[in-house]
Symmetry: D2
Subunit: 178 residues, 4 copies
């Protein structure tokens, strides 16, 4: 299954993408959806709930590829709308500077972030969400959790080790790491 | 004239403030109000228009002291609402990390930022404004200018050299410096 | 005891400082000394060891006031040399942007950072140390710990809750939070 | 000519790279070499001098691809050593957070940064250089210029419009934009 439905001549077919994924780092965006109060304090983090290949529940942040010809901020908006629905009203940050860069490798020892499919370089942003969310695509649900709930052992265990680390860095960046 | 109307026992009187200003760095916030499109791209910068002591027009960013017991984000909100009115709906950033720190000194040679009254350490934030603005207090007007208009010689000449530099750094940070 | 030995007319006496501390936020710098490898990866964090008023061992990061007329980067260098000795060769960051801002209040509920003496606004920087350290002043020792050692329960218990949170944010910023 | 001499099975041949460049964003690093004083203030910016296809002199910052399996910081070090020589002793930043992200497109209207060959996403870092530089490869020379010299019309005219904007953003980030 393709991670985008649109097609265009200068984009890669799924086969070509698979081949290229073994040869070149792929540009990704990671977005951590948050709710804030009127002072900008993060009150909740949004996590997607998906059923994994083993039938268990997995929690995830929003992540996906940057397409050829697409700006990073277009990719952030596209992936957020894909996962949270068209009425989410995300407030994309004004600065292109990500709060961190996550490097996923097929070899889990290089950076501590593992992706068996590819070498991905993920630019990570915290994105306040002001509208109504309707999880779409293959996401079952979106849950909004307080910072200390996200860091609880139960929730942490349902995040992949990589996504958990991204969430921790995000909470540290916004000053809410418990 | 006081830069705040409220009084509280543990705040400084104007006299004490004057004395202390000669002895201790004062914590300031600098806020650059912006309008963005739905992708977070800065389309306009908001500048206040005030009549200076010499009767000439001065353009300014939003700036002011952090009070005793007040969080930085409370100070950013308070000064924005004071200058842009209560319906401005500023989106205070989620992270306490300023995009830059501006150091104003009575001696203009130390940092290139000059304030004859005091040594001030200003934490600077870019703040998207989503509501309606009604310039209040002593501001005559608020104008929204495109990035290249702000950098035009005419407008640049109406900003103090310090505020012009803060605006330039802000535009660089959001990727809009012409 | 004064936190600086030099005196100058325009600085505050200890008495005046005490009075002012109850009325105005005080500008602080927080510095996290680190050792890095040739790629800039943080391999060790430096923590000071002091004997507390109760005779127990406390671990601390480097912290102190910014003086009147002093640039933030001068204050970072001064406090690092005071605590690590004159041969530490700290690499002060090129950008004035701190990785976070820590707000300490006499009321512990406002920000989660508590300082019974004052309201302090701390600009926090990670500073690579390239030289030899000779802990001076009232610090007993300086220990270099790996990121996962710092986060171990034993070491974490010897840091104040505030300093532990600053160290966690620093590790998240440099991509080394376990 | 390849931009790397090493070969490995999972890297792209030059032909494959050309094909892929038309289909996928390529991950780049941009490094701005600087000299600093002992307080971290940037005193000089390093620009490479190359002879362009038209025989004219071009000034450039350090830039290049991130290879498959390579960490971003490895790529920053590799490109700096390739252009400044093996004794440059660059101080790679501790944080993976770039000060900006530059997006180059074959279509010059999308971002204002133009690269006819490819869609590149460049992570930009300011890197203090402490050693001796011997420009190697196809760079004729390396010149160290003060911030206001770099912004002079003569020098600015010898930088590509894209590199000039990256240098401006870097100077703004380190607080040295004139």
């Amino acid at each position: 299954m393709s991670d985008y439905t649109e097609t265009q001549n200068n984009w890669l077919s799924d086969d070509d993408l698979e081949t290229t994924r073994g040869r070149l780092p792929i540009v990704y965006v990671n977005a951590i959806p948050v709710r804030t109060d009127s002072l900008g304090v993060v009150t909740h983090i949004g996590l997607l709930l998906r059923i994994g290949p083993d039938g268990g529940a997995n929690r995830e942040i929003v992540a996906g590829r940057v397409l050829y010809g697409e700006r990073v901020r277009d990719a952030v908006l596209r992936h957020l709308e894909k996962d949270l629905g068209p009425l989410a009203m995300p407030r994309i940050p004004t600065s292109p500077q990500p709060f961190t860069v996550i490097e996923y490798f097929p070899n889990p020892d290089i950076s501590g972030f593992h992706d068996p499919r590819q070498h991905a370089v993920g630019l990570a942003y915290v994105v306040p969400i002001e509208g109504d969310c309707e999880p779409s695509q293959d996401a079952l649900d979106l849950v909004w959790l307080q910072p200390d709930e996200v860091m609880s052992p139960t929730v942490a265990a349902e995040l992949s080790p990589g996504h958990l680390k991204v969430v921790r860095r995000a909470l540290a960046h916004v000053g809410c790491l418990p």
